[in-house]
Amino acid sequence: MSEQQANRSVGIAYRVTWYVMMLVLVMIIVIEESGLGNSLPAAIDRLSTLYMALIPLALLALAVILQLHKARVSATVSFILFLLWVGLRFLV
């Protein structure tokens, strides 16, 4: 498959990431403004972690998409970057 098709597929992945990002941000603000922020601090914490993880998750999606498009080197680099983020976030 062509590079153009790969870009389109990755574009869709990024678009989905954008929608999830907006949803997460709105949810954090709604929880905070409704006064539930103090009683549900874990919810805010998890949503914030999800927000920070969205780009690495997009990298994981990118790795899968690029692998499907036979761009193996880029897919591997993308997957390594995802693993690196996970390592730095949860292990360091």
Partner: protein
């Protein structure tokens, strides 16, 4: 942790997002001075919040650039290897560096950005050919650009775009698209040390990020990108004035 109304953060970030979309910028260069000079946030907190906004604007813009085929994914991922090292490393070091030094560095980058904006050619011509040692040089340059992302919370486009154009022979549009995607990834890594140190209030992160995207979204639909030299000159002067103010505020008490 300094207490600031989250809606005030939202308001300022919306304004920055709107202005950044009009001027074709990322916004980080405006956010950090606003957070520190107007909202009196410590510079580390300001940088962390700015990185959150940079991530949001990067995803927003990249989702538009990718389907147009403007992003060279292979190049972006390759350069990201060193950019991430720079970004994460600088963000770790930022916790040990005096805020005064960070403010001084930020002021220098602001003046540099202002000069670049004044003398930048916006033409979209392809450079003749990529530099002979383009890729290794670009990876080295990306390390520095990543350092700016992690340390100062700015997009680093002021370094990345010339690198992509002059060393890798990309057109202006391709360079901007690649730089925009790269900055989101490096900001995601640079943000980690700020979160781990507890520099950022999580709720502020949401208000700042949503504010920036909302401002950029509305302004990109209401106004066209302004090419007028007068606006750019005015903005450059504001940047220089803010840089001077930043130095006076952080170093004036000596």
């Amino acid at each position: 942790m300094v207490e600031v109304s989250p809606w005030l953060i939202f308001l300022f970030c919306s304004g920055v997002g709107a202005l950044a979309a009009i001027l074709g910028l990322g916004g980080g260069i405006m956010l950090v001075p606003i957070f520190t000079l107007l909202l009196n946030l410590p510079i580390q907190q300001a940088v962390g919040l700015s990185l959150c906004c940079v991530m949001a604007t990067s995803v927003t813009a990249t989702s538009r650039y990718l389907p147009d085929g403007l992003v060279d994914l292979r190049m972006v991922l390759l350069l990201e290897i060193t950019t991430i090292i720079g970004s994460y490393g600088a963000a770790v070091v930022a916790g040990q560096i005096s805020p005064k030094i960070i403010a001084l560095l930020f002021a220098v980058v602001m003046v540099f950005s202002a000069v670049m904006m004044l003398f930048n050619k916006s033409g979209d011509t392809q450079e003749d050919r990529a530099h002979k040692h383009g890729v290794p040089l670009a990876m080295g340059g990306s390390l520095i650009a990543g350092g700016l992302v992690g340390l100062l919370g700015i997009g680093g486009g002021v370094i990345k775009v010339p690198i992509l154009r002059l060393l890798l022979g990309k057109t202006m549009k391709q360079a901007v698209a690649a730089s925009t995607m790269m900055v989101g990834i490096s900001a995601a890594f640079g943000l980690l040390p700020y979160v781990q140190r507890g520099d950022i209030q999580m709720t502020h992160m949401a208000y700042a990020s949503l504010g920036t995207v909302a401002g950029a979204f509305i302004s990109s639909r209401l106004f066209h990108k302004i090419e007028s030299i007068y606006i750019k000159v005015l903005f450059s002067l504001v940047l220089i004035y803010t840089a001077v103010n930043m130095i006076i505020k952080t170093w004036g008490g000596e």
